[in-house]
Amino acid sequence: MAELVSLADGIATLVGDGDTVALEGFTHLIPMAAGHEIIRQGRRDLTLVRMTPDLVYDQLIGAGCARKLVFSWGGNPGVGSLHRLRDAVEHDWPRPLELEEHSHAGMANRYVAGASGLPFAVLRGYRGTDLAKHTATIAPVTCPFTGEVLTAVPALRPDVAVIHAQRADARGNVQLWGITGVQKEAVLAARRSLVTVEEVVDRLDPRPGATVLPGWVVTAVAVVPGGARPSYAQGYYDRDNGYYRDWDSISRDRASFTAWLGEL
């Protein structure tokens, strides 16, 4: 059964310096508040894993928490660049950032392999691209029946996965709906997991399209209303598109970002 914790305790207990950490949520239900708590607690040398780094990783990278980024698309969706990510890659500020770069299909399958207890996944991917030249975790694999050569990618097994969901019950069963992304796979692939939720309810009424993670596969649940803002939580609040646009100017130079960080 998942333990009900405060966000601060959950991060303190579950996320350690040097850990491989996956904060997932595909545009929807991004665990922003958990990311902020990681920054506040001053974690260092993290390997950050996430398909779409988004603002939350721009912030973690700018704050110097990360040693390495494993990802497939690092932009501000509908707006432009992630300036802190760019500054780290282009100018090693505030510290150098190692990249392990995949496509979405590759990252998604790496989580699937992790969730499935397999060492690798197979896909038709990356053909003709320069990605394999720079990414060691892309390799050919041959079909034993047809001889066709496909692409293999190794399983992702984060030390800890952090996701945000709409709600949980007192036994730690977690329910999320709307765009569900790779959150189930991330939690099932990880050794430990923390789920922040909008609320804890007595009973999880069945919802169309809902994914349920039983409490016995979740390590801890923390109630954090608004924990996905400025991303959104379907049924609770909308995406704050204005904040995504504002982040472009906040993050564009080091001074304004540092000021933002000081107020976090």
Binding site: G75, P77, G125
Partner: protein, 233 residues
């Protein structure tokens, strides 16, 4: 009604979807065109976004590929692994609709970086996202890209995706692959654009088809639908 080059491009891209059943939609220009198509000539077109929304019918243009309205209006919402594995990879989607930061004459796409050094690029771009597999797996690939020498380059700095065989719709006209060599050839110009305009906007020595077609101007219906779509966003 008067129109802009961007509007002409989006209208031309929307028209390219006529007769198609399903379209895997990248964000940005392709999403605008696909949503316009759904409001004009292709109401039954199934829009598929990499966020896992299949058959979405957004009332306004989504800012991201994961907007809540996509999920609320979709025929089905599936996980991200499923959308790539069950829907994209087997080649069951008719058209992949993509954009690019850089593009060469063989429709190799770069959305990864500008500059010679992968470790310390001049400009770090977002990266691959869904594009490598969208470009490789859809039955047909259409690129929607503004044509200028910074984008239409002789050599891309990084091959992020290979859209060999793709057709390109720009703000100036359209390019189609030569069936023998695969090289992109100018085949169509939008109203008011001439061949030298297209050549000047291309970073390689642009080949021009023997007959260059002329795009019909946007109709009032197309323009109204597009402006309504953008105004609501």
């Amino acid at each position: 009604m008067r129109w802009t080059a961007d509007e002409m491009m989006t209208v031309a891209a929307a028209r390219a979807l006529v007769g198609r059943t399903s379209c895997f939609v990248g964000i940005g220009l392709p999403s605008t065109a696909a949503n316009l198509a759904k409001r004009t000539a292709c109401p039954d077109l199934a829009l598929i976004y990499e966020s896992g929304t299949i058959g979405a019918r957004p009332t306004r243009l989504p800012l991201s590929i994961g907007d809540g309205e996509l999920a609320e209006t979709a025929d089905a919402v599936v996980s991200v692994p499923e959308v790539f594995n069950y829907w994209l990879q087997p080649g069951r989607v008719d058209v992949g609709f993509l954009s690019a930061a850089q593009l060469d004459r063989y429709a190799r796409i770069n959305t990864t970086l500008i500059g010679p050094d992968y470790r310390h690029p001049k400009v770090r771009l977002p990266g691959a996202g869904g594009a490598p597999e969208i470009a490789a797996s859809c039955r047909e690939v259409i690129l929607v890209v503004r044509q200028n020498p910074r984008t239409f380059v002789d050599r891309v700095d990084f091959v992020t995706s290979v859209a060999a065989g793709a057709w390109v719709i720009t703000d100036l006209g359209e390019l189609a692959p030569d069936p023998d060599t695969g090289e992109l050839v100018l085949t169509r110009l939008h109203p008011g654009v001439c061949v030298p305009d297209a050549r000047a906007a291309t970073g390689w020595d642009l080949r021009v088809a023997a007959t260059v077609a002329r795009t019909e101007p946007p109709t009032g219906t197309e323009l109204s639908a597009l402006r309504e779509l953008l105004a609501a966003s």
